[in-house]
């Protein structure tokens, strides 16, 4: 018994000794840990904090999901489900498939391991596995979950146009929402799930201090309390626009739900938006005599607006009426906001080839129709086996292209009329009607054309552009062209009786769409 007790005591003492000699595990550091919550369960992952940003150990997270992260050259590559993304510490953009993954800051390396912002996982997983990632900073949980196919992606742009701050929320799908005025802020409450592009972003704007996403709400923090908003929505793509300007305060807390649709407009040409190219620090081309394109286009457009209003009795809106920068997407947003029936952007051309001269008129070019058909077939196949938001995004893109096609035929007719009258009335050489992927024409939900009046880089044409007489003939030509198009269009849709005089309009060669229907828009 005594012997047994001694053996037990020795064993116990040995155990204590072993315990005392065993290496002590490092105490957990909660500050550098977070929880990865995925289908397989919760797992502790390593995080790091630098300069106010939180970074996640990419290798741990991706490995937990069945993939891997390896060093590749001076960067890293993440692999999951045969999808490869590349990223490095010198760029806040990663690359996956043919797209970019945007992160608020560039990844970092710590102890030779890659650490990335959580947005990397959001961008990568959604393409690699149909998963989405969200970061709950308060709970320190990085949640990976199936992407909600119904969740609409949203992007935010803020720009000040002639004293009005335009907040444009572009969504990948129509979403019901309401807008609530709160003290010092407006909140857009989306009634279904959205994919927020960021948590919070400061805005360099006189009326908007910052924008932040909380769940499915977007909070627009104002710089001063007496900012009022006009809100409306635009289609194709679906956008929610808030025009914010200083004015009388609205009663705090008053919900201001937006009508989902607006009355259908009557067919015909009632409103024309004229867009003077460039402006502000974006001077455009400069002639050998120093004439700046931004000044030439503004002077011409002011005269054109007056002439169109006087002759056609239509409402004419300028996208800018002073020397300010107006972002390209805001220019068509203005046209859509005013329910414009035509959008005409005025520019002066430039060439390095000496002697380049003449006028040309553009309308938007999209991918070739066979490309669209090819993509449609791909997507039809994909829809049988839903591939998640990536395919959905492609589908939206294609539908957007197709929506644009609806206006291309009319844009072609408008461009043809402009080019013919420019050549006939001004005598300037015709360089023809062309198509190009011009940014300012993307997003216009109406016939749209861009006119290159003359080459400002040609000394002779620069002199012409400056001259009052030439400006007047150009205004005459453009006014006549718009009038001709208006009559032609309104005759074709049956609201104007055809005249017995043979029309001088030359039927445009392309695009080949033949069906013409009244262009009425709702919800704009």
């Amino acid at each position: 018994m005594t012997r047994s007790f001694s053996l037990l005591a020795i064993a116990f003492a040995s155990a204590l000794l072993l315990l005392a000699q065993a290496p002590t595990p490092a105490p957990p550091n909660p500050a550098n840990q977070a929880t990865l919550r995925a289908a397989a369960g919760d797992k502790t992952i390593t995080v790091a904090h630098q300069n106010g940003n939180t970074y996640f150990a990419a290798d741990e997270v991706i490995a937990s999901l069945g993939g891997s992260v390896t060093r590749d050259g001076n960067g890293f590559k993440a692999s999951l489900n045969n999808t490869v993304a590349a990223f490095g510490t010198d760029s806040r953009f990663g690359v996956v498939k043919d797209d970019l993954i945007e992160m608020p800051v560039a990844p970092v390396t710590i102890d030779n391991r890659p650490f990335v912002p959580w947005q990397f996982f959001q961008g990568f997983l959604i393409r690699a596995s149909g998963l989405d990632a969200t970061w709950d900073a308060a709970g320190k949980i990085l949640q990976v979950h199936p992407a909600q196919t119904t969740a609409a992606g949203v992007t935010v742009s803020v720009a000040n146009v002639q004293g009005i701050s335009k907040v444009v929320l572009t969504l990948t799908a129509p979403v019901d929402y309401s807008i609530v005025k709160e003290p010092g802020a407006y909140t857009v409450r989306f009634k279904t799930a959205i994919r927020a592009p960021y948590v919070e972003q400061a805005q360099d704007d006189p009326n908007v201090a910052r924008t932040s996403f909380i769940g499915n709400d977007l909070r627009i923090q104002l710089t001063v309390p007496d900012v009022v908003a006009d809100a409306y929505r635009l289609e194709n793509p679906f956008r929610v626009v808030l025009d914010l300007r200083k004015g009388a305060a609205v009663a705090p807390g008053t919900p201001q739900p937006l009508n989902s649709t607006r009355p259908v407009e009557s067919p015909g040409i009632h409103t024309i938006v004229i867009d003077p190219g460039h402006g502000g620090k974006e001077v455009g081309a400069i002639g050998p005599g120093g004439l700046m394109e931004k000044d030439a286009t503004l002077a011409l457009c002011r005269r054109l607006a007056a002439a169109l209003e006087a002759k056609l009795k239509t409402r004419v809106v300028l996208t800018r009426n002073d020397d300010t920068v107006v972002p390209l997407d805001q220019r068509t947003a203005i046209a859509n906001q005013y329910h414009a029936d035509l959008f005409i952007s005025i520019h002066m051309n430039a060439a390095i080839v000496k002697g380049a001269h003449g006028a040309e008129t553009y309308f938007l070019s999209l991918d070739a129709s066979d490309k669209l058909a090819e993509k449609a077939a791909e997507l039809e196949n994909a829809s049988k086996n839903p591939a998640g938001p990536a395919a959905s995004s492609d589908l939206k893109l294609m539908l957007w292209d197709l929506a644009q096609q609806e206006y291309l035929n009319e844009s072609s007719r408008l461009a043809q009329a402009v080019q013919e009258e420019m050549n006939r009335i001004t005598g300037i050489q015709s360089r023809g009607v062309k198509q190009a992927p011009f940014k300012v024409l993307v997003g216009a939900t109406m016939p749209a054309a861009l006119v290159e009046v003359a080459f400002i880089t040609n000394p002779d044409e620069e002199s012409k552009i400056k001259s009052d007489a030439f400006q007047k003939t150009v205004v005459d030509a453009l006014t006549t062209a718009v009038e001709r198009y208006k009559t032609d269009y309104e005759t074709r849709i049956g609201i104007v009786q055809p005249t017995p005089v043979a029309p001088t309009t030359t039927a445009p060669a392309a695009p080949t769409t033949t069906a013409t229907k009244p262009m009425t828009r709702t919800g704009t």
Binding site: D98, A436, K439
Partner: protein, 170 residues
């Protein structure tokens, strides 16, 4: 650096490298390349030039694009891009999208030119890349490693561009 990493990945993922000799990736061979510059008719014209290129197409893409920015060997043909434009990086993804990352003070500060010149510049890159690299089906141009709206206020760069014969002299 990022681009370099991507370049390596892209080359590793490509299904059909230019050379069938996979052991000769670093071998440099002088080969004819077709570059596109603006001709007197205000359209792009071809110029063939012999350039030393690595077998690896991802590496060759960068060299060919830089060769384009050097301008035409014909002194009478002015350069399309601002003289300070540089190719920061290039990469070719397995799906056929080539990314060309441009930089330089003028593009960074804002290039003041007309739509014609911008079209010529953009499509000189698109045509050069897609002509010399059959696996490159479309071209996305970045500026300073970031997506760019346009180079000079006109041509939409937010999507990859397909080659277009519209801008090329017949």
């Amino acid at each position: 650096m990022l681009s370099l990493a991507i370049l390596i990945i892209a080359s590793g993922c490509k299904k059909k490298p230019l050379s069938q000799n996979l052991n000769a990736e670093n071998k440099v061979e002088v080969r004819p390349v077709t570059l596109f510059f603006e001709g007197p008719e205000l359209l792009l014209v071809r110029e063939t030039r012999n350039v030393g290129l690595p077998e690896n197409p991802a590496g060759a893409l960068s060299i060919v694009t830089r060769e384009l920015l050097k301008g035409s060997s014909n002194a009478g043909v002015p350069p399309i891009f601002p003289r300070d434009t540089v190719v920061r990086a290039t990469f070719l993804l397995p799906d056929g999208t080539a990314f060309i990352d441009l930089g330089g003070n003028t593009l960074t500060q804002g290039w003041g030119t007309g739509s014609h010149e911008e079209l010529m510049a953009v499509y000189s890159v698109v045509q050069t890349v897609t002509t010399n690299f059959p696996d490159a089906k479309r071209v996305r141009i970045l500026v300073n490693d970031e997506p760019a709206e346009t180079l000079a206020g006109h041509v939409n760069l937010s999507r990859a561009l397909l080659p277009s014969a519209t801008y090329v002299a017949r």
